[in-house]
Amino acid sequence: MAGIDLCTFELGAGHYAVDASRVQEVVRGQELTRVPLAPPAIAGLINMRGALVTAVDLRRLLGLEEDVDAAIGTNLVVQADGEVVSLLVDGIGDVIRVDEAMLEPPPHTLPAELQQLLTHSCQLPETVLLVLDVDRAMVVAAARA
């Protein structure tokens, strides 16, 4: 059964996922150093075992509501667009294997901006999973200045 592994996560009220093969690690509670003058979707820099990693404010990028006390969230560290970045999420879910046949295009009901950042949506028993296009997300995050 052909399928892809997806690493799921929660952000706000929604359930999302990224291609598990892109996920490097998950790190909690890293202090964020803000970068003035950076594009709004960039939350700042975090120190990961001595390496500097750019952290992306995924809420902002996806156009979701701001979370007031999301100072130190969970870092989903992925390989995106050729570099290692951290996506700030609320919580990490399981890694699930999804049959390719279950992947559908993102629902048209979503705002166009959000649709652009998704590769697919996936109907699961309890919820709809939105699969994020990490490469595209980085390009867009950098561009919106």
Partner: protein, 763 residues
């Protein structure tokens, strides 16, 4: 990289070095055909290339190297006399070998047969002595001194070759042995030893352990892949960060053991850092090794005679810096030969030795590397520079006339500037010097020219020793912390709002600071990082002014506080952040948090400081600021000609601007410039005062005045000098610094601005 790839990689690197050595030796032999050392060394170089190539199955390389080796062998034996034809043929062979190596590198196979031309040339050169043994036997037959290590590896090649078809055998054997050999390759002294080990594996007993040992003793250096060094450097960087973190944690605890261990760790890490930095250092000889050949070829091509002298070849530089100056060095050498050194005829006529000399001197001083390129050529023709500047419309003739020697030399660095009409293929168009300057400055270096007509030119380049670990000052602005590279900091000044004495002054909306008799522009870091956002309220606490110098200019950066200077590891920012002008990178501080490193060039640009009018200000003498009272009026002191000064009330001044001469447009009503999207009529202050107008091509200062009912005019002055306070009761003139200075008659100005063109044609 697979194991076989590593060996090939080694072979290519080594052979290239060998060929460079061959070049140098051949040139040395050219000068002194009887020199024994270059002859031996050249022979060894060829022999090694041939041997290893054969071992790896590169028949084409082997054949060519063999042919060249034969010829040189004949010279060594004495059966052939060294002649220019032979030298040329050997040089050609060296080039052909390089081409073959390049081919191998690209296509990973040797179907590049030995080039016919090179072989023929060698043949012709060697032919007077028909005694050379033919073909493959030649390897064994050529007599060699017993101490020559490559001899040990030569024989098995023949044996291997004779046994089965050479390439298959060599290939297969190498494959089989690669597991055993590869670790040795990495850990031992170069491919030669690998070859002899390999030989030892297949030639049981042919090689006594002694010959292998001989090879080991001769080479006490180790060849390490540069990528490995980079990794080491990164790891040490991480260690430095961890140490900083530990120090910080330990500082908070009272524990004698912890303190002492941390201290030791600090010491050891510091040393480790220093030494690993040194491994990335390579001697300048890496660059200079190729120069003799370059000079030789260039001189021939230009029809000149030039010799090159290098000093300080063992001066070391960080690898990345070396890479960065490779092109500039090549260009400067080309320039010197092409444009600097004169032809033999000209030199003879001038009483100079026919052979020109290009001397490269490198040395360490004050933490920087200095490289001086001196030639004893004709020097830079400053008059030609002046003429070229006018031709290229960089300046008008009158302005060009006024430039002094130093300024003319600076013009050479202007983009697209070349004083030779015959733009040669060698040096190319005059894009050279400005690119040299840009490249050198990009790595934090400086370039300077000195020249004496008829005697020669010296180009002095200075570059920093290393790039990756720099001392930096930590400063804070608001809740954020930033770092400023120490190399750009001139001084720190405490700004205490309560204290009297010089501080940051506000003039027409711009902040300036009076320093050593000069006004420098000032920007506030809090403001810069706020960008377009809301500015936070300024604290009334004392702040600090950091005086920064960059590109020969100075400006002040106001910060909330200053911490200590520490060595930091510069880490690049990710792609989405790297184009933020004001940040040059980031680092991890002792407390584990990231901190951004400020880019001083970017800061200056961001605040539009270096291009704004404030950078043109200069106070003639330091003036103690007098308390402003209702009886005093602030006046702007301007200079209308070389001697006459005038003052005008600051409240009438809307702003100060700087314009280029090209911006002047002539309208029916007079001269004007475009300013902020509007037309600004110009009035020449000199004319208004009845003084002499001095012609100039320089950008000029304009004091934009509010005249009446929304009308504005631009008062053209020679210089904006200072801001002073005078008695409000003064009229017509005031006493400033013990001199009488007249007031600019604003009424007349109003009248003048309405009349016809007052800006003289000279401008």
């Amino acid at each position: 990289m697979s194991e076989i790839d590593e060996i090939v990689h080694e072979f290519l690197a080594e052979s290239r070095e060998g060929l460079d050595q061959l070049d140098r030796d051949l040139l040395a032999l050219d000068d002194d055909p009887n020199a024994g050392d270059p002859l031996d060394s050249a022979f060894r170089a060829l022999h090694t290339v041939k041997g290893t190539a054969g071992l790896l199955g590169y028949a084409g390389v082997e054949e060519l190297a063999h042919a060249a080796e034969q010829v040189l062998g004949g010279v060594r034996e004495g059966s052939t006399a060294l002649s220019p034809a032979i030298t040329a043929a050997l040089l050609m062979a060296g080039d052909a070998l390089r081409a073959q190596l390049a081919h191998i590198e690209e296509t990973d196979s040797d179907d590049h047969p030995a080039p016919e031309a090179a072989l023929r040339a060698l043949d012709a050169a060697a032919s007077p002595n028909a005694g050379g043994p033919p073909g493959g036997d030649g390897v064994v037959a050529v007599p060699m001194p017993a101490s020559s290590p490559p001899a040990a590896s030569a024989e098995p090649v023949t044996d291997l070759g004779a046994a089965t078809s050479p390439e298959a055998a060599a290939g297969a054997d190498v494959q089989a042995a690669s597991v055993a050999v590869a670790p040795t390759v990495a850990a031992t002294a170069g491919g030669i030893e690998a070859a002899s080990e390999l030989a030892a594996l297949h030639d049981d007993g042919e090689h006594t352990p002694a010959s292998v040992a001989t090879v080991g003793v001769l080479e006490s250096t180790v060849r390490v892949d540069v990528a490995v060094l980079d990794d080491l450097m990164n790891l040490v960087g991480e260690l430095v960060l961890a140490r900083n973190r530990l120090r910080e944690l330990a500082a908070g605890r009272v524990d004698a053991d912890l303190t002492s261990v941390t201290g030791r760790l600090h010491q050891v890490t510091g040393e480790l850092q220093q030494r690993v930095s040194r491994t990335r250092m390579q001697p300048l000889s890496v660059l200079w090794g190729k120069l003799p050949r370059l000079v030789h070829d260039l001189a021939i091509a230009c029809g000149k005679e030039v010799r090159i002298e290098t000093h300080g070849a063992d001066t070391e530089l960080d690898r990345s810096v070396l890479e960065a100056i490779r092109d500039p060095v090549t260009h400067l050498v080309r320039n010197a030969i092409d444009h600097g050194i004169e032809s033999p005829a000209v030199r003879a006529a001038a009483g100079k030795p026919v052979e020109g000399c290009l001397s490269l001197r490198a040395f360490h001083e004050s933490g920087r590397v200095h490289i001086e390129f001196s030639d004893d050529g004709g020097g830079i023709d400053l008059e030609a520079v002046r003429r070229r500047a006018v031709d290229r419309r960089l300046l008008d003739p009158a302005a060009a006339e006024r430039l002094d020697d130093r300024e003319l030399l600076q013009l050479v660095f202007a983009p697209s500037f070349s004083t030779t009409d015959a733009v040669t293929q060698l040096s190319g168009r005059g894009v050279g010097m400005d690119v040299v300057k840009t490249n050198v400055e990009r790595i934090g270096g400086t370039v300077d020219l000195r020249s004496v007509r008829g005697e020669g030119t010296v180009c002095a380049v200075t570059i920093p020793l290393t790039l990756a670990i720099v001392p930096a000052l930590a400063v804070c602005a608001g809740d954020d912390r930033f770092l400023i590279p120490q190399v750009h900091i001139s001084e720190l000044v405490r700004l205490d709002p309560a204290a009297s004495g010089p501080g940051v002054e506000d003039v027409l909306g711009s902040q300036v600071y009076r320093r050593h008799g000069q006004l420098i522009p000032v920007i506030d870091l809090v403001g810069v990082i706020a960008g377009d956002g809301p500015r936070p309220t300024m604290s009334s606490a004392s702040r600090t002014l950091v005086v920064i110098h960059v590109d020969g200019e100075r400006f002040g950066l106001v910060v909330d506080g200053v911490q200590d200077t520490q060595d930091i590891v510069v880490k690049p920012l990710g792609r989405c952040l790297s184009d933020i002008q004001v940040f040059a990178g980031a680092t991890i501080m002792g407390d584990g948090r990231a901190a951004l490193i400020l880019d001083v060039h970017g800061l200056a640009k961001r605040a539009d400081v270096l291009t704004s009018h404030t950078s043109a200000w200069q106070a003639t003498e330091p003036i103690a600021p007098e308390p402003e009272t209702a009886d005093r009026v602030r006046m702007l002191v301007v200079q209308a000609s070389d001697t006459r000064q005038a003052v005008l009330p600051l409240h009438a001044v809307a702003r100060l601007e700087r314009h280029a001469r090209e911006g002047i447009e002539r309208l029916a009503t007079g001269a004007a410039v475009q300013s902020r999207g509007k037309v600004l009529p110009l009035v020449e202050l000199a004319v208004v005062l009845g003084a002499e107008v001095t012609a100039s091509a320089d950008p000029f200062d304009v004091v934009v005045l509010d005249l009446d009912a929304g009308r504005r005019c631009g008062l053209v002055v020679d210089a904006i000098l200072d801001v002073v306070e005078v008695d409000a009761a003064d009229s017509g003139s005031s006493i400033v610094d013990g001199r009488i200075i007249e007031h600019v008659p604003l009424d007349r100005l109003r009248a003048a601005s309405r009349s016809v063109d007052l800006v003289t044609a000279g401008r």
